[in-house]
């Protein structure tokens, strides 16, 4: 995902799509990804995401509500855990 200066000088710092569904994120990502002359660390060749994705059942996914360092509201932590458990 290429980004203009000065933000592309921080390699951890990138723009990206925000959307309401996974398919929408994929659609948006595919429209904006790919190498760009303004960003020397943009990935090449372009990574194309599929329009649909398979089931994630059986995947091993790490979940940390606080990354071991942050204070998280109980309600937020519980809702995040419930959402994570819904994928299992």
């Amino acid at each position: 995902m290429p980004q203009g200066t000065p933000f592309n000088l921080d390699q951890y710092c990138h723009v990206g799509p925000l959307a309401r569904t996974v398919a929408d994120c994929s659609l948006f990502e595919n429209a904006i990804a790919g190498p760009h002359p303004a960003d020397i660390v943009s990935l090449r060749p372009k990574l194309e995401l599929p329009a649909t994705f398979g089931d994630i059942k059986g995947w091993k996914i790490a979940f940390s509500p606080d990354l071991g360092a942050y204070e998280v509201d109980t309600e937020v932590a519980e809702n995040s855990r419930a959402a994570a458990e819904a994928t299992s």
């Binding site: 995902m1 290429p2 980004q3 203009g4 933000f7 723009v15 925000l18 959307a19 309401r20 569904t21 398919a23 929408d24 659609l27 948006f28 595919n30 429209a31 904006i32 760009h36 303004a38 960003d39 943009s42 329009a51």
Partner: protein, 166 residues
């Protein structure tokens, strides 16, 4: 309230192609929804609703064969973070220093969204220079969480998240 503003973008594109829905109708629903939640949320720095409706009419012409073929994001409403430059638009980075700064180029993401036919109806708020994990600045004030106005919305893409969740 109509649910049209919440339609997934992929579904909207399919309906544009089958002519069940016009990009103008979707843009109008998006604008109506934004107007009904603002200024309580504070998602936007600048908004371009008239320009967006005009662009939606051009997109409609592409879907109805009165103009060139539709492109991958043709007619979809979307906001751009006020961190990213768009030619001719104000690019403040939420800083008082840049409150009148007009961009003279498109950043890569803006260039590609526009080339793909996406319509930028607003620029969303950030913390100053996108350097904080919340969205509050002296220039734009506080952006609130649509699920609970007593809460912040995170950052630095707080305006973007608030707009999408509203």
């Amino acid at each position: 309230m109509s649910d049209l503003a919440y339609i997934p973008a992929s579904d909207a594109l399919a309906k544009f192609r089958s002519r069940e829905l016009s990009p103008v109708e979707l843009m109008q629903a998006t604008i109506d929804r934004a107007k009904s939640v603002e200024p309580a949320i504070g998602a936007f720095a600048d908004q371009f609703f008239d320009d967006a409706l005009e662009a939606a009419q051009e997109a409609e012409a592409r879907y109805t064969g009165r103009s060139a073929d539709p492109r991958p994001l043709e007619g979809l409403p979307g906001s751009i973070k006020d961190e990213e430059a768009q030619t001719g638009r104000r690019n403040t980075n939420a800083s008082l220093i840049f409150q009148d700064h007009i961009a003279d180029h498109n950043s890569p993401i803006v260039e590609r969204v526009l080339e793909a036919g996406g319509i930028v109806h607003a620029r969303t708020r950030t913390p100053e220079f996108s350097c904080m994990p919340f969205t509050h600045s002296r220039l734009w004030g506080v952006t609130r969480n649509p699920w609970n106005l007593a809460f912040d919305v995170g950052g630095s893409s707080g305006g973007a998240a608030a707009s999408l969740a509203s």
